[in-house]
């Protein structure tokens, strides 16, 4: 080891981008690869699908209402004769986008609060009480307030759909960050006692870089778990919002909404609940497996094993 003479300047590898290692490890997790494959399929289905299956999701063909699967409507039609396949695509586009962005927002807020609370002792008490406050808030009145205050300005600046999108993502985000914050705080409290944090302090690393470089990467795994659960929650919360009239315009399909609308038709046209139900479950499941794989892949200790 100390035999320095054997080292030729040219023999050593340049530091390689660590994402290649991550990918190498990720590949070994079978569930994660299948999950990623399925998730990519879902993304293609919802974002590129409409270019292949060009029926308009909003087009009402009243003569063709409540049809079962057929060649013209592989997944049947709804009570207004709208094509379920294209609605599933359109709905997925919204649900997946809402799920991902709302989850990201919740993660960012939750992680931020958790890290700050865990790292800065003085802020801990007040931030955790804030978390309690958010947990105790009655969500529905809060939503009504938010919608009342922000819908029109957002609609004016971003247009009806984008405005509502921002609103919904915001609403779901600020009402679901609390568990993440709690978990992250716990982990940060433990991490803070680890010697490498002390080591960084002895180097003179300032607090913000301490957090970004030493704390955050090491709380990835609870964050990943929150992320997978967060997507499911966001997709379902979105449907509940539409149900309450607080979501997207009613003719704007989302998976949660399709599932909700289909529930009454469970006996007559079971495919109306099966498809959106499957889409939600499998997407959540695939994200969960991706999360598992990523968690392993991002952890160098597991990566090398």
């Amino acid at each position: 080891m100390t035999d320095l003479t054997t080292l030729e300047a040219e023999t050593y590898q340049k530091p390689r981008n660590q994402w290649w290692d991550v990918w190498d490890q990720f590949k070994t997790h079978k569930g994660a690869v299948i999950g990623a494959g399925f998730f990519i399929f879902v993304l293609l289905f919802v974002f590129l699908g409409p270019f292949v299956w060009t029926l308009d999701a909003q087009y009402i063909d009243i003569r063709a209402r409540n049809q079962g699967p057929s060649w013209t409507h592989p997944m049947g039609t709804d009570q207004l004769g709208r094509d379920m396949l294209s609605r599933l695509m359109a709905g997925g586009r919204t649900s997946v986008s809402v799920g991902l962005t709302a989850m990201l927002l919740a993660l960012i807020v939750g992680t931020f609060v958790g890290v700050i609370a865990g790292y800065f002792r003085r802020l801990d008490g007040i931030l955790m009480r804030l978390t309690d406050l958010f947990l105790a808030l009655p969500i529905l009145p809060l939503l009504l307030v938010i919608i009342m205050l922000f819908r029109d300005p957002l609609r004016a600046s971003f247009g009806p759909e984008a405005g509502i999108f921002i609103l919904i993502v915001f609403v779901i985000g600020i009402t679901s960050w609390m568990p993440t914050a709690r978990i992250v705080r716990g982990d940060v409290l433990a991490l803070k006692e680890r010697e490498f944090v002390l080591a960084a302090r002895s180097i003179g690393t300032p607090p913000h870089r301490m957090v970004t470089r030493h704390i955050l990467p090491n709380v990835l795994s609870p964050i990943m778990v929150s992320a997978t659960l967060g997507i499911a929650t966001a997709i379902i919360t979105e449907s509940a919002l539409s149900f309450l009239g607080l979501g997207f315009p009613s003719d704007f399909p989302t998976w949660g909404r399709l599932l909700f609308d289909g529930t009454d038709w469970l006996q007559r046209n079971p495919e109306r609940v099966i498809w959106p139900g499957l889409a939600i479950s499998l997407t959540v499941l695939s994200v969960n497996y991706i999360g598992d794989g990523l968690r392993d892949a991002l952890d160098p200790r597991i990566r090398g094993r």
């Binding site: 080891m1 100390t2 035999d3 070994t28 090398g304 094993r305």
Partner: protein
């Protein structure tokens, strides 16, 4: 100290343990054979990864399987082969006939149960004692291992004990059922020197008092020198040297043993200007060894060492070594 006539309580032959991991197998223990005589204290020396702990845990089915696979044998103890024994039979041996003391008293005790409960557990399980009797016996045991005010401390939790006291508790647990063999895996490594001295004294006392055989695993040659009757030196998952303690220190035969003795500085005697170093790292055995595991770090290595794994050969009455090189002649038994 002991002669050949003393009967063996434990006879291990060709014990091999491999672990399956995601990146391939690790051959942690390879064809290890040794015996343990009644009432003797057998020291096992080696660095981490040398297979010394795994050997002892394999004997008694304490390595998790999978990923581990224990082969070879037989391992004869009280007339039965532990390797072929059923789990049920093994459980009757573990904790009752063979006691264990582990390295880190901080983590080896269950933090959520009182010390009394943990000491009583083997008593109730193996000796069928009722609660009252087990408790009385537990108190005696804590007294025995020198825990002051034992009766009161039975209800305390491990974290309320200091490191040394916790290790005493571990010893009490191991001794609870009067075992024939006590396996102590680095029992003093995590302790301070003054506490280590206390524990060593205690173990010596207990062995004299109770007469069990002890296997003492350590990396500290100083400890070995003070306590062991016979010593096994392990490296790379196999025994490289085996000798009575005085023989080993006076006349080490294996280059590894020799180097090890030289690298350790001393608090007394001459102070070396510079420490002797064994360069390199201990090997991780990805395959069954076909060559001497020490060859890369050995200053006497030659061709044969990388072609062939030296077998243990007798160099004294009870002294054997697994090396082709002879320190007395400096000659290598090349073929």
């Amino acid at each position: 100290m002991l002669d050949g006539a003393t009967p063996s309580v434990l006879d291990v032959k060709d014990l091999t343990t491999t672990f399956k991991t995601r990146v391939g197998a690790v051959h942690a223990v390879n064809n290890v054979s040794f015996n343990l005589k009644a009432g003797e204290l057998l020291g096992v020396v080696g660095e981490s990864g040398s297979g010394k702990s795994v050997t002892m845990m394999s004997l008694i089915g304490l390595v998790p399987s999978p990923p581990a696979r224990v082969t070879g044998g037989p391992v004869m103890f009280e007339g039965q082969d532990l390797l072929t024994a059923s789990n049920e039979q093994l459980r009757k041996v573990r904790g009752a006939r063979i006691g264990f003391v582990f390295q880190d008293p901080m983590t080896s005790l269950n933090p959520v149960f009182s010390v009394g409960f943990q000491v009583m557990e083997p008593l109730r399980k193996h000796m069928g004692m009722n609660k009252t009797r087990a408790r009385a016996r537990a108190r005696e045991l804590l007294d025995l291992v020198g825990i002051p005010d034992a009766a009161r401390r039975l209800d305390d939790f491990p974290h309320q004990f200091s490191g040394g006291m916790r290790q005493r508790v571990m010893i009490a647990i191991a001794l609870a059922c009067d075992p024939k063999v006590l396996i102590a895996d680095e029992p003093t490594t995590a302790l301070d020197v003054t506490i280590q001295a206390q524990i060593i004294e205690l173990m010596k006392d207990l062995r004299d008092k109770l007469g069990m055989a002890v296997i003492w695993i350590t990396h500290d040659l100083g400890v070995i020198a003070g306590i062991a009757d016979r010593v096994l030196v392990m490296y790379g998952g196999q025994i490289v040297e085996h000798a009575p303690v005085r023989d080993l220190f006076a006349n080490p035969r294996h280059p590894y043993t020799r180097a090890l003795l030289l690298t350790v500085p001393n608090v007394r005697g001459e102070r070396a200007q510079r420490l002797r170093v064994i360069e390199g790292q201990p090997p991780i055995l990805r395959a069954a060894p076909t060559a001497c595991p020490f060859r890369d770090r050995c200053e006497h290595a030659f061709d044969r060492c990388s072609r062939e794994n030296p077998a243990r050969r007798l160099v004294g009455p009870v002294h054997d070594v697994a090396c082709f090189w002879d320190p007395e002649t400096g000659a290598s038994s090349d073929v």
